[in-house]
Structures are given as C-alpha cells and as structure tokens.
C-alpha cells in the first residue's frame, strides 16, 4: 500500500536518510525501530511531504507522492500523529478534532467520526469543550490520535505514541491502537523507541540505523533476533 524505495533526504547539508526502503502492506501494523537520530521521524516526515527526498521514491497505492505538498498527502489518505503530540493547545478538544477533518467535505461523515473517536477515547467526550492545554499528557496523546483519525486516513503514521507517558497509559493506548487496526482494517506505520510494546502490536518491523534500514522481518522473528534483543529490547 505504502512503499519507500532507496529514499535519501537531508536537512541542509546533514544527511538524515541514506537509502531507506520499506513496505507497509494493507491492513498491517508495521513498526519502525531504532535509536535516537536513526532517521525514524525523518522517514515519517518524508512520507507526509514535510521533507523532500533528494533521491528515491515514495509510492502510495502505486503512485508516486514524493512531490506532493503535505495538504495533498492528507487528502489522498495519509495522516500523521506527530511526535510530541503537537495538538492545538489554545483550542478546545472539539476544535482540535474538527481541524483533524480539515481535508474532508462530508459534514455528516465528520460528525459520525467525532462520535467514533469519542467511543475509542471516552475521556475526550467528557472534555470536549475544554481547552486542550488543560488535558493530561495521556489525554493529549489520545486527542492527537483522535485528530489523526479524523482525516479518515487509509494509512496512519504514529510517531512515538508512548513518549513521556506512564507505562499503564502506554498499555492502554496501544490496546486502542490495536483495536482500531483490527476493527477498521486501518493500516498503521508505527515509530517507537519502546521496541517491546511496538513488536507486541506489529506484524512486521524494520530496524533503522544511521539513516538506513539494517533489518526487516516478521515481528516475531525480530523479537528472537540477537542484535534486536540486545540493542532495543534490553534483555
């Protein structure tokens, strides 16, 4: 459904990606693992059109998207939940969700999807009229995911959803992510520092190191891989 082939990208003269190739199959959850600075976020930035690749191809459902502006990419069905959540803190929860649906014109569908997000994250319904700066870290992450879903994406890019959250909350959020994937068949590309939990929900995983993919395998195989265990799973 989504594929990157030999993608290179740089910030100014600093090379961030040096030939990333990966496949995200329809309906799957693919985990992208790696240390800080390995290029995980840059990979997502390239897919979302925030960073232009200097070389290589990004294809979505068979057509190249690497020259499209970010707003077009949301329209064709790729939505990103960025690292650090990046919610609109001065706006209410509801306004954040409305903004998530900016690329859509189907008013009824939007209202139905707000309900759907509230079903996944009931706490957001309770707080829908509150300024989102007042939400806790976990609630903000839920809002960020909810906002990402409001674009009605066919691929959801999730960047470090566990960042800064208590372990209990992380478990809860990942349970919901898994549920969304199973119930709606939503394809997910998940960037995560916490390899343990990422490989729990993912069917396939890639390991990035210094801007290149060094390993790609079934999640179960990655769990058994000696290098992955030592570097990322910590046992």
């Amino acid at each position: 459904m989504l594929s990157l082939r030999d993608v290179h990208a740089a910030y100014g003269s600093v090379l961030a990606l040096k030939g990333v190739s990966l496949e995200v199959p329809t309906g799957g959850i693919v985990a992208l693992l790696g240390a800080n600075g390995a290029g995980k976020t840059s990979t997502l930035r390239v897919i979302s059109g925030l960073l232009r690749p200097s070389q290589g191809v990004v294809e979505f459902e068979g057509r190249p998207i690497d020259r499209m502006p970010p707003d077009r990419i949301v329209q064709i069905g790729i939505s990103q939940v960025p690292e650090g959540r990046q919610i609109f803190t001065e706006m209410t929860v509801l306004e954040n969700l409305r903004l998530g649906s900016y690329s859509r014109r189907d008013g009824d569908g939007v209202r139905a999807d707000i309900e759907r997000v509230f079903t996944y994250f009931p706490v957001l319904r309770e707080r829908s009229r509150q300024r989102s700066a007042l939400l806790s870290g976990g609630e903000q992450q839920m809002l960020a995911i909810g906002r990402g879903l409001m674009a009605k994406p066919r691929v959801l890019l999730l960047d470090e959803p566990s960042l800064g959250l208590a372990p209990m909350l992380v478990q809860e959020i990942f349970k919901i992510i898994k549920a969304i994937n199973e119930q709606e068949g939503l394809t997910i590309l998940l960037v995560e520092q916490d390899a343990n939990i990422a490989l729990d929900v993912a069917s396939y995983g890639y390991v990035l190191e210094a801007g290149t993919v060094v390993l790609g395998d079934e999640a179960a195989h990655l769990r058994g891989n000696e290098m992955v265990r030592r570097s990322y799973l910590g046992f």
Binding site: S48, D71, S79, G84, E90, M91, G100, G137
Partner: protein, 315 residues
C-alpha cells in the same frame, strides 16, 4: 480637537484638573477612544501577521498610507463608497502579492532578515508614494457621509469623522471575529498561527493561510488609513505617527493577542489625549513621549504585554 484642548497643548497653560472641568475630561476620553480605535485597527493588522508568521511588519503604516493615496486617486474618479471599497480590494491584493513574492523567501530565515525586508518595504512604499503623488499635502475628506456638525451630548462632542473611525473599527472587529470564530477558513488561520507543523499535518494549506493573512492585514490598513486621514490629512508622512502608536498599542496589548491590540489601541488613544491635555509642557509631542513611558512601565511589570501569552509550554 476642541478649543480647550488646543489651549492645553500650548506651553505652560495648564488645563483645569478633571474634577473642576469634568466635561473637558469626558471630551478627552471620547476623542481618545476615537483616535485610539484607529490605532486599534492598525495594531490588529500588525498582530494578525505577527501571530501567524512572527514577522513584525514595519511597513504596515506605509502600506496603509499607500492605500490611502490610491483611495485619493480613485476618489477623483468616483464616489466615496466605490473608491473606498476598491482601495480595500487593491490593498488586499497588494498584501497577498507581497507575502507571496517578497516575504515567502525569508520566512525560514532568521527573524532579523524579515525585519530588514519589511524595513525595505517601508522605504520603498514611502519613496513610491513620493514619486507618484509628490510631497504636497492632499485634501482628503471629510467625505459627505461624515460631513455635518459634530454630534454632541451635553457639552461633550464628537466629530463625524471620528464617529466614522469608531464605526469602521467596530465593523472590522466584528467581521474579524466572525471570520476567526465562525468559519472553517478562520479556524484554519488560527490553527496556522498556533502550530504550523500540526496545521500542515491536518491538511491545511499553510502557505495559502499566510497569504490570506497578509491580504486581510493590508485591507485593514487601507480602512484605517482612509478613515484616519480625514482627521489628520494626507501626506507621505502623515500616517507615520499613527504607525508608531499602533506599534505601541500592539506591544502594550501583547503582540500575539487581537483583544490586546484593541485594548492597547484604545488605551494609547486615551493616554495620549490625557497627556496632551493635562501635562504642561513647552515641548511638542509630549503626548507621544508619555504614551511610550506608560508602555515601558507596563512592560516592566508584564513583559509580554497586557494580554500576551508567556512562553510556557506544558510537555
């Protein structure tokens, strides 16, 4: 300005204190609010751009002046309303073009670059206006709808041109409020001002929002310029003090707060009139000095302005 107020401006003569002459005091408040609402419109224009791009547009006043000259030219050919509306539209187009062609390239550059660019625009517009329209003052208004005797209640009076400024400011504020609070585009513009990255990720064409912001801001400038110039006359430098006060108003209110721009504008208008009336001085421009002293004092206590947000972020 009333005869009393003029007398108060001349050296050494001290106006009677407010409790002895309450109608002079009320008069100064009212005319302060009228001039202040002119500052408020321009301050709003500055804030609108600053919020979304972190650019302080030093050319705002000159753009308003240029638009007012355009209105003057249109007025030689048509009635007030068509000329007024046409000049607003042309100003909007000019603002959009500036953002696209001149500001876009320096957007990612350090803040100082955009300061230099807007200062460049400042001198460019000034020179262009001098070149096209010359340095002779132009008779500008009052237009027929603002003609007639001042409106008085008891012995407090407001000129019709001042009522025009007040009405213009009210209409602009109402329209901007409706735009930002009630429309999809307005929501997207607010989002762009708050969080550029998140706006891109929800599919807002951020560039188009910035262009629109500049267009709106320039349009506000045209409205302010036309309305204010009826009172102060029109030359290539006539709006410069107004720009200074508008800047002061925006800073006083907090550069990122539209409500602050309005409150700041009105406060500066009132303070300025009070200073001009009650502070004896044989120096000209004492009103300007005092207005700025007040601002410095406020900023010592609240560095981000009255309504400005402190840069505290919850992680």
């Amino acid at each position: 300005m009333s005869a009393d107020a003029l007398a108060a401006l001349s050296p050494v003569v001290l106006a009677a204190p407010p409790w002895e002459n309450p109608s002079l005091f009320a008069q100064q408040i009212i005319s302060g609010i009228a001039t202040g609402s002119g500052f408020a419109i321009l301050a709003l224009a500055l804030v609108m751009i600053y919020r979304s791009t972190a650019i302080l547009n030093f050319a705002q006043g000159e753009m308003a002046m240029f638009s007012t000259f355009m209105a003057w030219t249109f007025l030689t050919r048509m009635d007030f309303w068509p000329a007024f509306i046409l000049s607003i539209l042309v100003a909007a187009a000019m603002g959009a073009a500036l953002e696209l062609l001149i500001l876009r390239p320096v957007e990612e550059a350090p803040a100082l670059n955009s300061v230099i660019v807007t200062l460049g625009l400042f001198t460019t517009f000034n020179a262009l206006a001098l070149w096209i329209w010359g340095s002779q003052p132009k008779g500008f208004g009052p237009f027929s709808i603002f003609k007639g005797s001042a409106l008085c209640a008891a012995d407090v009076c407001v000129g019709r041109a001042s009522v025009g400024i007040l009405a213009g400011a009210a209409v602009i504020m109402l329209l901007l409020y409706l735009l930002f609070q009630r429309t999809r585009v307005g929501l997207a513009m607010r989002a762009t001002a708050q969080n550029r990255l998140a706006s891109q990720l929800v599919g807002i064409p951020v560039g188009r929002m910035l262009t629109l912001g500049w267009a709106l801001s320039a349009a506000c400038g045209a409205v302010a310029g036309v309305l204010i110039s009826q009172n102060v006359g029109l030359t290539t430098i006539s709006l410069f003090p107004v720009l200074l006060f508008a800047f002061a108003a925006a800073v006083l209110g907090g550069l990122d707060s539209p409500a602050g721009a309005i409150v700041g504008g009105l406060s500066i208008g009132i303070i300025r009139n009070m200073a001009g009336t009650y502070v004896p001085s044989d120096v000209g421009n004492i009103d300007l000095t005092i207005a700025f002293i007040v601002i410095v004092l406020v900023l010592m206590v609240r560095p981000t302005g009255l309504f400005g947000k402190r840069a505290v972020r919850r992680v």
